[in-house]
C-alpha cells in the first residue's frame, strides 16, 4: 500500500524471484511490471515463470495506491497521534475536516486552498508545539495530495 503522488497514481517498484524444482534461479515476468505507474486504487500484479522443462507457475499480488480521501484520513490520524498541544491539534484537524468536506463536494480549488492553509499552519507551529519531523511529514503529506489534485 502506498500513496499516490500524481494524478496518474504512483510509480511502484517491487522485487520478485523464481526458482525451478532443483532450486536454480529462473527468469520471471510480471504484468504490470516493476516501475509501472500504478493508478489510484487496487491493481493485481501477476508474475509467471517457466523452467527448462516447460513447467510454469504464476503468483499474484495486489498493489494498493491511496487516493486523496485515504491520504487525508491518514494525515488526520497522524496529526491526532502526534501528541501536539490540544489547541494545535484541534486547529489542524479542523482544517483537515474542512478539506474533507470540500473534497466530498468536489470543490477542488477549495481543497487545494485548504491544504495550502494547512501547510502554512503546520509550518507556523513547527518547532513550537510540534516536532520538526512531524511537521515535515504533515507538510509532505499535504503537498502530495496537492500534487495528486494538480493544485496550482
Amino acid at each position: 500500500m502506498t500513496d499516490a503522488d500524481s494524478p496518474h497514481g504512483r510509480t511502484v517498484e517491487f522485487a520478485v524471484s523464481a526458482v525451478d524444482w532443483r532450486g536454480r534461479s529462473i527468469s520471471v515476468g510480471c504484468a504490470p511490471s516493476s516501475g509501472y505507474v500504478f493508478p489510484i486504487g487496487t491493481t493485481t500484479v501477476t508474475c509467471s515463470a517457466a523452467d527448462a522443462g516447460g513447467r510454469t507457475a504464476s503468483e499474484s499480488f495486489t498493489v494498493r495506491v491511496n487516493g486523496v480521501p485515504e491520504q487525508l484520513a491518514a494525515l488526520r490520524a497522524a496529526v491526532v497521534a502526534a501528541g501536539l498541544e490540544t489547541k494545535t491539534t484541534e486547529k489542524l484537524t479542523s482544517q483537515l475536516d474542512d478539506v474533507r468536506k470540500q473534497l466530498e463536494a468536489t470543490r477542488t480549488t477549495a481543497v487545494c486552498g485548504g491544504l495550502s492553509d494547512f501547510v502554512d499552519a503546520v509550518q507556523r507551529q513547527s518547532g513550537k508545539s510540534s516536532a520538526a519531523a512531524d511537521a515535515d511529514a504533515f507538510v509532505a503529506g499535504a503537498q502530495r495530495m496537492r500534487a495528486v489534485l494538480s493544485c496550482a
Binding site: F14, A15, V16, V19, V28, G53, A57, S58, S60, F61
Partner: protein, 233 residues
C-alpha cells in the same frame, strides 16, 4: 576372428613370419606364428585347441591386444583351457614346434553361472518412469574398480524419461545405489534416490554380501512446477 561360442577353422602357418612387435612369448621354435581373436560374450570358461596330425602345435592366449612385451594368460602345447572375462577380446597365437603346416583351431565356450549384468559394462537396460525387474546376485562378483564393498553385485542402466525424483528400492536382502558417470572408476553416488533431468543416464548397482534373487523397483515423481516468490500484499 573366431566367431561364436563354439567352432572350428582350418588354418595354416605356412609362410607365416614373426615380427618385432609380436610378443616373444607367442612364438615357439620356428616363429611361424598366426593369430586369431575371439570376444568373450560373458564370464566363463574357454577351451582352445590347435590340432595337427603331423606336428605339435603351441597355443598362447593374450587378454587384450598384445605388445612385444606382453605375457600370455596361458600357453601350452596343443590346447589350453582358461577362465575368460566377458567383454574382453582375446588374442590367440598358434605356432608349430618344428615346421609350418595346416591345422584346425577349435574353440568351445561355456558361460559361467554369473548373471549377464555382473559387470558394469554389461549393465542391463531398464526403462520407464516406473517399473520393476527381477534379477539375482547369485554368482555375481564385484569388479576391481567398482564402488561399494559388497562382494556380489550386478548393474542396470536407466535413462531418465522425464524430469523428477527417482527412487530405487530392492528386496532380497540386497542394497541399491544409483550413480552418475560414464566410467566405472569415476561413478558418483546419488544414493537410492535423487533428482534427475530427462536424459540423465544412471548406473544402478544392486549388491549384497549374501547373494540372492531380488526385485529391483523404481518410481519417478514428476518434477514440480517452479516456485514464484512475490511481495506480500
Amino acid at each position: 576372428m573366431l566367431e561364436g561360442t563354439t567352432g572350428s577353422v582350418y588354418a595354416s602357418n605356412v609362410d607365416a613370419g614373426f615380427t618385432d612387435d609380436e610378443p616373444a612369448a607367442a612364438s615357439w621354435y620356428d616363429g611361424a606364428t598366426v593369430w586369431f581373436a575371439w570376444d568373450a560374450p560373458q564370464n566363463g570358461t574357454l577351451q582352445l585347441g590347435a590340432d595337427a596330425d603331423w606336428e605339435t602345435t603351441h597355443v598362447a592366449v593374450f587378454a587384450g591386444e598384445p605388445t612385444a612385451a606382453s605375457e600370455p594368460v596361458v600357453s601350452e602345447y596343443a590346447g589350453v583351457t582358461l577362465e575368460v572375462v566377458g567383454g574382453t577380446r582375446y588374442y590367440i597365437a598358434v605356432d608349430t614346434e618344428w615346421s609350418p603346416g595346416d591345422f584346425f583351431v577349435t574353440w568351445s565356450f561355456a558361460g559361467s553361472s554369473a548373471p549377464s549384468n555382473d559387470m558394469w559394462s554389461f549393465a542391463q537396460p531398464i526403462a520407464g518412469v516406473s517399473g520393476g525387474v527381477s534379477g539375482t546376485t547369485v554368482g555375481a562378483t564385484a569388479e576391481a574398480d567398482e564402488p561399494g564393498d559388497a562382494a556380489h553385485s550386478v548393474w542396470f542402466h536407466w535413462i531418465a524419461p522425464e524430469d523428477g525424483v527417482v527412487v530405487f528400492s530392492v528386496d532380497g536382502g540386497q542394497s541399491v545405489q544409483a550413480y552418475s558417470g560414464f566410467w566405472l572408476g569415476g561413478l558418483k553416488s546419488l544414493g537410492a534416490s535423487g533428482p534427475v533431468t530427462a536424459g540423465d543416464v544412471l548406473s544402478v548397482r544392486v549388491a549384497g554380501s549374501t547373494p540372492s534373487p531380488f526385485t529391483l523397483a523404481w518410481q519417478t515423481a514428476p518434477a514440480p512446477a517452479p516456485t514464484v516468490t512475490v511481495p506480500r500484499a
